[in-house]
């Protein structure tokens, strides 16, 4: 399959791959071959559990996934856009450098671990330790937007970037996030639609009201979220939001003696 692709120079049509029963090595090899053949749009059908899709890819590309991609989707990815029509699993956007991942459904644990740039939008709920250790450096500011609820340890160790939890479609009484929200957070900002009970917060952060600059940033992200998922952003903007910020950049001052 790869050889046949190599001859194409410029592709206008999307390249379609039926991933049914395909091992991830074969699938990812095919994707890489399609990209080097000049295809810029790739559609993957019947994906179910194949790992590492988009791993380390630096070519500009649009990859559409029909199904549930496996763990480490967009790991080390640098530039492409991936749209998942389905749920995601664990470890999406792991150490991602840039690019966009949009997941129509829900997703698993440890999303955006060490993410240093790019954007991840999830329409539904996410699991534990989402946005863990996201970090920013100069112009590279990662963004992670969760439409539904987030599990415990959301934003753990967060060192930079923007994390948004909207908590849409919650059942009555369900909290926005699990326990230990933003524990160890020492950089970046978290926006919550509504508030969380104090006892769920990590000891390093506090809740604040939004200022104009926050609204500008959040408003843009809500618009983008609305565009991706057909949600009315104007309605979302009517709600109350809370901002979480680390209270100290060095919360561990009294921990050590020498």
């Amino acid at each position: 399959m790869g050889c046949e692709l190599r001859n194409r120079v410029e592709a206008v049509e999307p390249y379609r791959i039926d991933a049914q029963g395909m091992h991830h090595r074969q699938l990812n090899e095919t994707i890489r071959a399609a990209l080097s053949a000049g295809y810029r749009e790739i559609i993957l059908d019947n994906v179910n559990g194949q790992r590492y899709i988009g791993a380390g890819i630096s070519t500009p590309a649009y990859i559409e996934i029909n199904g549930v991609p496996g763990n480490d989707l967009a790991v080390f990815m640098n530039g492409p856009t991936i749209r998942v029509h389905g749920n995601g699993q664990d470890g999406i956007a792991n150490t991602m450098n840039s690019g966009t991942v949009i997941v129509d459904g829900s997703a698993g644990d440890v999303l955006g671990y060490g993410m240093r740039g790019g954007r991840l939008f999830v329409r539904g709920d996410v699991g534990y330790r989402v946005g863990i250790h996201m970090k920013e450096y100069r112009e590279q500011v990662p963004v992670l937007v969760v439409g539904g609820r987030a599990g415990a340890f959301c934003g753990e160790y967060m060192a930079g970037g923007v994390l948004v939890v909207l908590g849409l479609d919650r059942l009555p009484g369900q909290p926005l996030t699990g326990d230990y929200l933003a524990t160890g957070m020492h950089g970046g900002v978290i926006y919550l639609r509504g508030r969380v009970a104090e006892h769920l917060l990590g000891k390093e952060v506090q809740m604040f009201d939004l200022n104009d600059q926050d609204w500008k940033l959040l408003g843009g992200l809500l618009d983008e979220f609305g565009n991706y998922f057909g949600v009315d952003a104007a309605e979302l903007k009517k709600d109350q939001y809370t901002k979480l910020l680390p209270v100290s950049h060095r919360p561990y001052g009294r921990l050590y003696v020498s």
Binding site: F153, E156, Y157, Y180, G184, G202
Partner: protein
């Protein structure tokens, strides 16, 4: 008889730095430092004229040659109070290299004790714990950590639980359903006391230590959510506000023990023995029994406070059961009753008997445990190491299926949080610290606690010395120490990949022995490193 004892230490005063402020002279509990007026005393001897002229001369001379501080080296115990507090850093204390001739067998302290006994005909008294170079099992045990197959846990960001309860537990719980079908507890648990850190302060009585020292321990216990222990000296009224964090000890002398005392304490402890002096009673000399000690111990001022070697209502295990029950009856079963014993050869069987006698907590004190006063020959040659005793007791209680019935406190030489973790891995629920707590308050382990001259204001009742210890500051030092150890324990748990202390308790698989014999390993229930 003229003493032939050479001074052990040489105190050197840097006369250039010394400003003659006199702080060291006033503060030395042992009277080792004084002002020497040598120059003008000499001048007075030499002068033959009128008194007025003498005054003039003295005034003149003093200006150029002021008094100087000199030391009586024989009195110095190297407690370092003067060294620590000299604002000029002008004092240095060195071991006297010529005190005894070097000999690998007739070590200096043997020679010294022989000389002392030859001069006095008495027993050598000492304080603190066994300082002899016995093998330390703690130093030959190492802890495990996680790599890859299971993750370590970050204790600073994720929950890490040290909370521990002391008390007896049933083997199983009975559950019933309430009217809504929700499960509720049917079993009625016997009383449990909570420790936020699995550490308690060892028993140190008012009498043995100062009220200020006891207050410091009580304040720290309250701040850190742990317990201090009255020792057998009763509970001074100043400690009442901290009573929820105080173990009330009932020892053979029964000092200060009345229903009110039993009622106040959070937990009771019958003291059978102590690691530094297994099988030995106590004796607080009458001169230490001042007004306050008298009131707290409920004995007349100036009378000796004698603690008999055994409890004279306990000559056998069934008698212990009787005293345990009596205490429980007297307090209407509202608090745990523990029993403290020294680690001796047959400790496992003894502990099993204690558990069966109805104790809720067993406190085992190893041979490194400290004391206010004991014959040195007992301190240094009786009893066994806590590591082996603890391992044997935990094994025995488990073999008999009664480990749940009692909590185990291990003590006797716990120096740092690593020792705490190792003791818990060997099977302890909590540890007790005495010497470490004293060091936190300032003690320099000079081992003269029995003398009542403690310059640090800890092991003394002399008002001019107890003033040296500020209870708030000492309490803060103790609380800081516990905080530091708690952080370290959490770090250890995190590296072990567990987030609750009970997952370390008795988990000897997380220990390995380095340089231990096969038999030691077998007793400790630990594999050698590399296996």
């Amino acid at each position: 008889m003229r003493s032939l004892l050479p001074p052990e230490y040489i105190v050197r005063i840097d006369q250039d730095r010394c400003r003659r402020c006199g702080r060291c002279v006033r503060n030395c509990g042992f009277g080792a430092l004084s002002f020497e007026h040598s120059f003008w005393h000499r001048a007075k001897e030499l002068f033959q004229g009128s008194t007025e002229d003498l005054q003039k001369v003295i005034a003149h001379v003093e200006e150029y040659v002021p008094d100087r501080v000199v030391a009586d080296n024989r009195k110095c115990v190297q407690c370092h109070y003067c060294v620590t507090h000299c604002p000029e850093g002008a004092i240095n204390i060195e071991p006297n290299p010529l005190a005894y001739k070097a000999n690998h067998y007739w070590l200096p302290h043997y020679q010294k004790n022989i000389v002392k006994q030859a001069e006095s005909g008495g027993m050598i008294l000492t304080g603190s714990g066994n300082d002899k170079p016995y093998f330390s099992y703690f130093d030959h045990l190492v802890l495990d950590a996680c790599q890859v197959t299971n993750p370590s846990i970050d204790p600073l960001r994720e929950p890490m639980e040290l909370r521990t309860y002391l008390g007896s537990r049933p083997k199983a719980l009975e559950i019933e359903q309430d009217s809504d079908g929700e499960p509720v507890l049917k079993t009625k648990l016997t009383p449990q006391v909570k420790l936020e850190i699995p550490i308690v302060f060892a028993a140190m009585s008012y009498g043995a230590i100062s009220l200020n020292a006891q207050k410091a321990l009580a304040m720290a216990a309250k701040e850190c959510g742990v317990l201090m222990n009255t020792g057998e000296g009763g509970m001074h009224r100043d400690l009442y506000p901290y009573a929820d964090h105080i173990i009330g000890q009932v020892a053979s002398g029964r000092f200060g023990v009345n229903p009110e005392y039993l009622e106040r304490a959070a937990m009771l402890e019958i003291k059978i023995g102590q690691g530094a002096k297994p099988g030995i009673g106590g004796h607080l000399p009458g001169e230490k029994v001042d007004e306050e000690v008298s009131r707290t111990r409920m004995i007349p001022v100036g009378s000796d406070a004698l603690s008999p070697a055994p409890h004279h209502d306990i000559y056998s295990i069934e008698d212990l059961a009787q005293l345990i029950s009596a205490l429980k009856e007297a307090t209407a079963y509202t608090k745990p009753v523990g029993v403290k014993i020294a680690a001796v050869h047959n400790v496992a069987a003894i502990a099993s008997g204690i558990a069966r006698a109805g104790a809720d907590v067993i406190y085992i004190d190893g041979f490194r445990g400290g004391t206010g006063a004991t014959p040195m020959i007992i301190r240094d040659h009786v009893g066994i190491p806590i590591e082996l005793a603890l391992a044997a007791v935990d094994d025995r209680l488990r073999q008999e299926g009664i480990r749940n019935q009692v909590s185990l406190i291990a003590a006797g030489g716990i120096r740092h949080s690593g020792d705490v973790a190792k003791a818990i891995a060997l099977g302890a629920d909590a540890v007790a610290i005495g010497t470490a707590a004293l060091i936190a308050m300032g003690c320099h382990v000079c081992q003269q606690c029995f003398s009542g001259n403690c310059s640090w204001g800890i092991a003394t009742q002399r008002p001019e010395l107890t003033r040296h210890l500020n209870p708030e500051e000492a309490g803060q030092r103790l609380a800081n120490l516990l905080r530091g150890w708690a952080l370290e324990l959490k770090e250890i748990l995190g590296s072990l990949g567990i987030n609750a202390i009970e997952s370390l308790r008795g988990s000897r698989l997380r220990l390995r022995g380095v340089g231990l014999s096969e038999q030691d390993l077998e007793i400790l229930g630990v594999k050698p490193a590399g296996r």
